[in-house]
Amino acid sequence: MSKNTDRAAYYVMILPGLLLLFAFTFVPLYYSIIAFQKFNPALGVQGSPWVGLDNILYMFSLRDARQVFFNTVFIASMKMVVVLLAAVTFALLLNEVRFARTQRTIQTMVYLPHFLSWVILAGILRTILARDGMLNDFLGVLGVGPVYFLGQPNLFPWVIILSDVWKEFGFEAIVYLAALTAIDPTLYEVAELDGASRFEKMRFISVPSIAPVIVLVGCLSIGNVLNAGFDQIFNLYSPIVYATGDIIDTYVYRIGLLQGQYSLGTAVGVFKTVVALLLIGVSYWAANRFASYRIF
């Protein structure tokens, strides 16, 4: 057994992964330079003329682009806040349920949407939110509506935010539930002896013990502030709601691929990538600093 043959084996093992990483991450990184070109597919990356920062400056001058940037940040940050609140509330309440089997059954029910694709969920939502769908039938009984949930620009972002809550709150609650089950039960018993009420036990024992997890999730989500959820919005939006529902990723898809403005689409993408890298840097720094978290 020699150290050198060991090393050779390690290199052989890692080679396929490295090749794929190169081919599908670093080669596209090279293609990103067309953001600084007037790219012409016939001329290729080598032959297309350079235009410096023109595409980036043009992007900043587009009213669309600014609106899209705002929509993205708004939808993404509201999703984080609302999903986090829903997940924490759910976890705290579930922790109060004393019947273990009921607890498990409830978990089984709320995790399910997490595993279904946005194509499926959007198909379901489009049916339910339609003018003659189940939700409007229900509102009709109450004398409200019909409401065009997917066709009204002022409602659309909230439909997106709340449907994301539906898909993810249960699954997000897992980390909080784990923190809650790790609490030493004697803490609650001692508090009871001291005459603490249910609410006081929650306020002074449960909440403080999940606070670090909340901080961690909050820090890590900073890196996602430009990801408002392409799959979800792409499958639920329509031109009527572009004003409030169009996000960077859907915008890049339409101008870059559908309209074939490769350079402009890439410029928007490069801008997003750079900002996202900075944000991820900040988020890992914050996660490490405030929650001593490291990914490896």
Partner: protein
């Protein structure tokens, strides 16, 4: 604990439990509605009469799907991408995670490679350059475009690497003394001890492949090459039912909604079948991902 709990306390217990059961059931109502629509008659559905129970129960929509060649072709492509794609994902994760779990001394360059992979993970290359790259490889309308670009799932590599690093070094050393080389070490010590982590990343890969639609949409020009999610996206979401010949007649008899609901439901079935496993191992995966030191 036998301390007497007050009656009011117990009432609150029941109220919270009831509230959460309500929340849980509400989460599933949209899915029940879809199932009910798929089992109802066209007239009942277009009359807006179907809530949570089928009206005029029938299996016509499912019968139609059974005979629908294009649906099953898309289904087959999805199954194929799950089988091939997930095998590649898991195989490559193992091969990459193992050398990365070594120290930089045992495997020179380990730290550099690690940073390359992490950089690759957080770097989100834009859609356009990504598309141009793949079309430059002539992979458009090629099945491999659905599996190769995402073949190395870096998050899974990290999960597995962290798992490998927590395996006691004594096992490693014992095998070394018996003269095991890295391949034997990986095969007979590391893999058998890592089954839970392997189950987790396998399920990540399966669900990821089954659920993705966007790569199929932009990388396949010919609808005959669509995986199931893309096929459904085009039919149900993009709302462009391909009506021609006998199909048009069939469609007239079935409400579009009924058929769409049935398709959505059939596409859900594989996920529902493996749901018990998903619940068990995804939860573990979340906790594995959150390694705290």
């Amino acid at each position: 604990m036998f301390s007497a709990r007050s009656t009011s306390d117990r009432i609150v217990d029941y109220l919270i439990t009831l509230l959460l059961i309500f929340v849980g059931v509400s989460t599933l109502l949209p899915l029940v509605n879809t199932l009910a629509i798929s089992l109802s008659t066209k007239t009942a559905v277009s009359g807006g009469m179907v809530g949570l129970w089928p009206v005029g129960f029938n299996l016509d929509a499912y019968g139609y799907i059974l005979r629908d060649g294009s649906f099953w072709r898309a289904f087959g492509i999805s199954v194929l991408r799950v089988v091939i794609g997930a095998s590649l994902n898991v195989g490559l994760s193992i091969l990459t995670a193992f050398p990365l779990s070594r120290t930089d001394r045992a495997f020179r360059g380990r730290n550099l490679f690690m940073w390359l992979f992490v950089f690759g993970m957080i770097l989100n290359v834009g859609l356009v350059p990504w598309y141009l790259t793949i079309s430059n490889y002539n992979l458009i309308d090629n099945f491999w475009a659905l599996v190769l670009p995402g073949a190395i799932p870096i998050w899974s590599v990290i999960i597995l690497m962290n798992f490998f690093r927590n395996i006691p070094k004594e096992l490693d050393e014992a095998a070394r003394i018996d003269g095991a080389n890295p391949w034997q070490l990986l095969w007979s010590i590391y893999l058998p001890t890592s089954l839970p982590a392997l189950a987790t990343i396998t399920l990540f890969a399966i669900v990821g492949h089954w659920n993705s639609f966007f790569d199929g949409l932009i990388l396949m020009n010919d609808p005959a090459n669509y995986p199931l999610q893309t096929y459904i996206q085009q039919l149900v979401i993009a709302d462009r039912p391909a009506l021609h010949g006998g199909q048009a007649q069939m469609m007239a008899q079935l409400s579009n909604n009924t058929l769409n609901a049935a398709k959505l439901f059939v596409a859900m079935i594989p996920i529902l079948l493996i749901y018990p496993l998903l619940q068990r191992y995804f939860v573990r995966g979340i906790m594995l991902g959150a390694v705290k030191e």
